[in-house]
């Protein structure tokens, strides 16, 4: 068994998958990946392969998500669930620092940065794109200490999607379904004619090192073709599409489009889209003092531009109407994100569509915004 190196394409037998997991564990990684919980495939700790959603898939559409049995024993035969990897790099609740009274003054102790390195198992192409985006957000300026500490220690085991979900549109956003960069290992699950193997592409030295003790063999050109065909088939079966042409300019030029008021009649401002989005990064901070006021803690937690408090200035919110808040979310995600971070904030994963309780569909909203308003809009935008 040769030592793998960058650029290698290897075959890993399904029966050797436990050995692969054991190798990650023995390399010191805490493996996190897909697991079935509460009727959905979410990300959690993977102690053994039985934690994976073996034989499960899901049916997704706007506002609906249902787990279903597959006719086979696929390990990665689903698309994406409500969780995204951001919950590990940017936890929903996180202590930033603690402080203690010190005479008349106080002493601040930064939260120690973590812990065991994480192996992300089953990262989809759209999620790698999301990772590139959150890297820009949290490390593009003053590096966020906890995000960067975790980020520099992760191992990315990517998976090329073998099927598309009902709300997927990564092809439109140019982020998938093929995994082309930013991975340590990239897996393609091959399930056909009694075969159950993974074609493994080695992306980094780190990826190569964790494969060293795992039985693999060289993939052939035919195996590569099989994997490429899987990706092509997935690309051809996207549940949604969104024309990305000129999206930034479209969004930034339409603050008064009547569609904002129309979508606001349905939007509940529930924040589900922003919680499920793999790139939404907005957060707030909270001061949590002890009862005796001798110690205090500074926490940050996920916030959402759909919350009224989000823009509260003195006593009133700047964005008081639902329509202004939906406009902010979409205009930021598809428009001003380009100005801030040099790319769109959308990766086409479809989570905001699936997890919207009233089935608001970002692709439908963009299509509606492309239609010029019938009559001149009322001056001053939404009310």
């Amino acid at each position: 068994m040769a030592v793998p190196s960058i650029g290698d394409r290897l075959l890993l037998d399904r029966r050797d998958f436990p050995t692969f997991l054991a190798s990650l564990h023995s390399a010191g990684y805490r493996i996190v990946g897909p697991t079935v919980r509460d009727g959905a495939i979410v990300y959690g700790d993977i102690a053994a392969e039985t934690d994976l959603p073996i034989g499960w898939t899901e049916r997704q559409n706007a506002g609906t998500y249902r787990l279903e049995r597959r006719g086979d024993e696929a390990l990665f035969g689903y698309v994406v669930g409500p969780h995204s990897w951001k919950k590990y790099l940017f936890p929903s609740h996180e202590r930033l620092w603690t402080a203690a009274r010190d005479g008349d003054s106080f002493t601040v102790t930064p939260e120690p940065t973590p812990e065991r390195p994480l192996a992300f198992l089953g990262v989809r192409a759209c999620e790698l794109a999301a990772l590139r985006i959150t890297d820009k957000v949290f490390m593009g300026g003053i590096p966020d200490p906890s995000y960067s500490a975790r980020r520099h220690k992760i191992l990315r085991v990517a998976v090329q999607c073998g099927q598309a979900g009902g709300t997927c549109f990564c092809v439109s956003m140019g982020t998938g379904p093929g995994v082309t960069s930013d991975y340590d290992l990239s897996l393609t699950e091959i399930l056909s004619e009694g075969r159950h193997e993974f074609l493994v592409a080695v992306g980094t030295e780190l990826g190569a090192s964790v494969l060293a003790s795992v039985p693999t063999r060289r993939a052939t050109a035919e195996d590569d073709q099989v994997a490429a065909a899987i990706v092509s088939r997935t690309a051809a079966s996207m549940g949604r599409s969104m024309d990305p042409t000129g999206l930034r300019d479209l969004l930034l030029s339409q603050p008064n489009h009547p569609r904002w008021d129309q979508v606001a009649k349905r939007c509940l401002s529930c924040t589900n889209c922003t919680m499920a989005c793999p790139t939404c990064f907005c957060h707030t901070t909270e001061e949590v003092p002890s009862l005796d006021a001798e110690k205090t803690e500074r926490w940050r937690r996920w916030d959402s531009c759909f919350n009224l408090e989000f823009t509260k200035l003195h006593t009133t919110p700047v964005r008081a109407s639902s329509s202004s808040r939906y406009r902010q979310w979409l205009t930021h995600k598809l428009g001003s994100w380009h100005d801030q971070f040099g790319s769109s904030g959308c990766v086409g994963c479809g989570r905001c569509i699936t997890w919207c309780p009233v089935a608001i569909d970002i692709t439908e909203e963009v299509a509606a915004l492309r239609v010029p308003p019938a009559s001149p809009p009322a001056e001053g935008g939404p009310r």
Binding site: V137, A201, G203, E287, S321, S336
Partner: protein, 287 residues
Amino acid sequence: MASNALPPQPIPSSHPLAPAPFVVRSQTAETPDTHTLVLSPSDGHAVPPALPGQFNMLYVFGVGEAAISLSGDPSDATAVVHTVRNAGPITAAIAQSPPGQTVGIRGPYGRGWPIDQAKGRDVVLVAGGLGLPPLRPVLYGLLAHRERYGRIEVIYGARTPKDLVYYGQIQQWRLRPDIRFQVTVDAADRSWYGDVGLVTARIPDTRFEPGNSVAFLCGPEIMMKYAARDLEARGIPQSSIWLSMERNMKCAVAVCGHCQFGPAFVCRDGPVFRYDVVRDWLATREL
């Protein structure tokens, strides 16, 4: 092809969002709900250099943080000065900090007033309400090198005479022959001898050379919007008018998302913006 793992980055030993302890040296009541605090680092370290128009995050132990503009003399390297209005539990705790109390500070943040653009030109400052404190460092700076600038016109408006901050200092500025400092209030009783009306009502009477002037505006958004419009109508180009925006802020380092104003993060790209950059955003409701 796959990119390599990220290069290792040094993780700072102190958290970038952790405040440093400062001691309140003095606390002056400006109005019933507004106080000016003079602070200095409790560890004896130097005051971090700041530019007029920048802000700090002020922190009270166990209570929380708020973004407050610097309002002191920028040439004074020994103290940090903030004028704070009690507008909620956090700003109340800050404003009511007595001398000797420790207040946390991180900063300064943001882009300040482009004072270098005022050289050789007339300067118009328009302040409304608590918009004067963020402009006071500009005035200190202008007066410290008075010869570098043309006419200096200040218009300051407040709701009532009781809401005027820096009252004693304003009397002194008004006595100076080398600047004009106009004060107007929205409403007053018979004991007020000054002007009554909006700051925009003072603009027609303000004297400056329109093609060779800069204007710095700070106050309620509606005031800045109309003051900028009127100054433009008097001939100051949009690119020579600057205003300081205010938005909800949590992090001050462009990562929490709260202060977005169009594509800008007010904390990083502002709070001072050129009028032509923000004009359309100001015209959009609830942006």
